[in-house]
Amino acid sequence: MSEPVIIRVFDVVGTPLCVSSADGQLVYDKLAPLLREGRKVAISFAQVETLISAFLNTAIGQIYGELSEDRVRELLSVRDMLPEDVALLKRVIDNAKRYFANQTASDQAWKEEVDHDEE
């Protein structure tokens, strides 16, 4: 089995603060081409001190718009994360799966419910 390519977030972003969508996009731009080629990737969060959901949405969450859950599970892994950051990532991932599964339908349903309440 081939070794995964390691993407070190700290090296990509250049600081221990992962607090912007723009920096998340830098990580995604490294990650997505590798996954599209079917390469295994491990994302390392060593030296990262602060993570926010907006960063993780962009860095990782948007991959579910391109690849299936099974394919992501097969190719992608994370390491060197604090437990609370893993919990945050899990929440972001679950949200991304829901978003790509049915976001448009869910938005429209909510709008119709509000319209109905106001009639």
Binding site: A54, P83, V86, A87, N95, Y99, K111
Partner: protein, 289 residues
């Protein structure tokens, strides 16, 4: 035009009063606005951030804004937190041990916000980053700031100010922008015509996002709400015509008395909170995807 600013505290009435100042001054033909503070007996210093939005919107509309008749001790407070210096007063010679100063950031300045927190958060009742509370608080502030940077399209940037209230064991940090407002962004993104409160309520649901182009979002504000619930703090949002508050587990949302020309998020943290925020290792990295 002379405008007598009434007392301003961090609540719906306070945001509404600042919005009223904005609306009245913009409606006046006179290019001069004198904001008279002689009637102030209370001005919660963190509200300098939304006041900064209002006054900078007016100067952007080529109004000449002056602040006059500032009573003591208000003048000392507002000089030391930097608001008055931004409007022509000499800067204070001493720093306040309880103020997180009034500061305006351009949308490209997100790294400067990190520096701001590093410089000004210590000593304001918040444990260090190594504690669970300190880390979650900083995460929350970055979530709010990034939301403003990403969504507001605020030509005047983002305004930040905070105040530590040692006796109340609370610290308030307010992040305000002069941008598109959440209700308008929701309605424009989806071509909806919701009233401001309904549009804001939609935006606050977990998973709701106006991001397009295949980028999920809508987790940050929910995380913030969860954190505030645990901490027994308070979270307030005034955006366009809507006001939302989450306090002691209770949520309220209603129209503002006058639409605010941007978005304000006020995060109030209970600094007496000493519970552990270290999460149990409930999620294994192997199971995260």
């Amino acid at each position: 035009m002379i405008y007598y600013l009434p007392n301003i505290v961090s609540d719906d009435a306070g945001f509404g009063e600042l919005a009223t100042l904005s609306a009245r001054a913009l409606a006046e033909e006179s290019p001069h606005l004198e904001v008279n503070l002689s009637r102030l007996t209370v001005f919660e210093a963190n509200m300098a951030a939304p006041l900064g939005v209002v006054l900078n919107k007016l100067t952007d509309a080529l109004k000449v804004v002056t602040i006059v008749d500032v009573p003591q001790p208000m003048e000392a407070i507002l000089r030391r937190n930097g608001l008055l210096a931004a409007f022509g007063y000499p800067p204070a010679t001493t720093k306040s041990p309880t103020a997180l100063p009034y500061q305006r950031f351009k949308l490209q300045d997100s790294s400067l916000f990190a520096q701001y927190l590093q410089d000004h958060l210590p000593g304001k009742g918040i444990p260090t980053m190594s504690s669970g509370l300190g880390k979650l608080f900083q995460q929350s502030l970055f979530e709010v700031f990034e939301n403003a940077i990403f969504h507001s399209n605020s030509p005047l940037g983002v305004f930040v100010c905070g105040q530590f209230f040692p006796l109340k064991q609370r610290v308030d940090i307010t992040i305000a922008d002069a941008g598109i407002t959440i209700p308008r962004k929701v309605n424009e993104t989806f071509a909806w015509d919701l009233n401001a409160s309904d549009a804001l309520a939609w935006a606050l649901k977990e998973g709701s996002t106006t991001k397009r182009e295949g980028k999920p979002g809508g987790v940050g504000l929910k995380l913030l709400r969860d954190f505030i619930a645990l901490n027994q703090g308070r979270l307030q949002i005034a955006s366009g015509g809507a006001y939302w508050e989450f306090n002691a587990g209770t949520e309220i949302i209603h129209p503002l008395s006058c639409p605010f020309p941007g978005t304000v998020v006020n995060l109030e943290i209970n600094t007496a909170d000493n519970k552990s925020y270290r999460l149990a290792n409930e999620v294994s990295p192997e199971n995260v995807f």
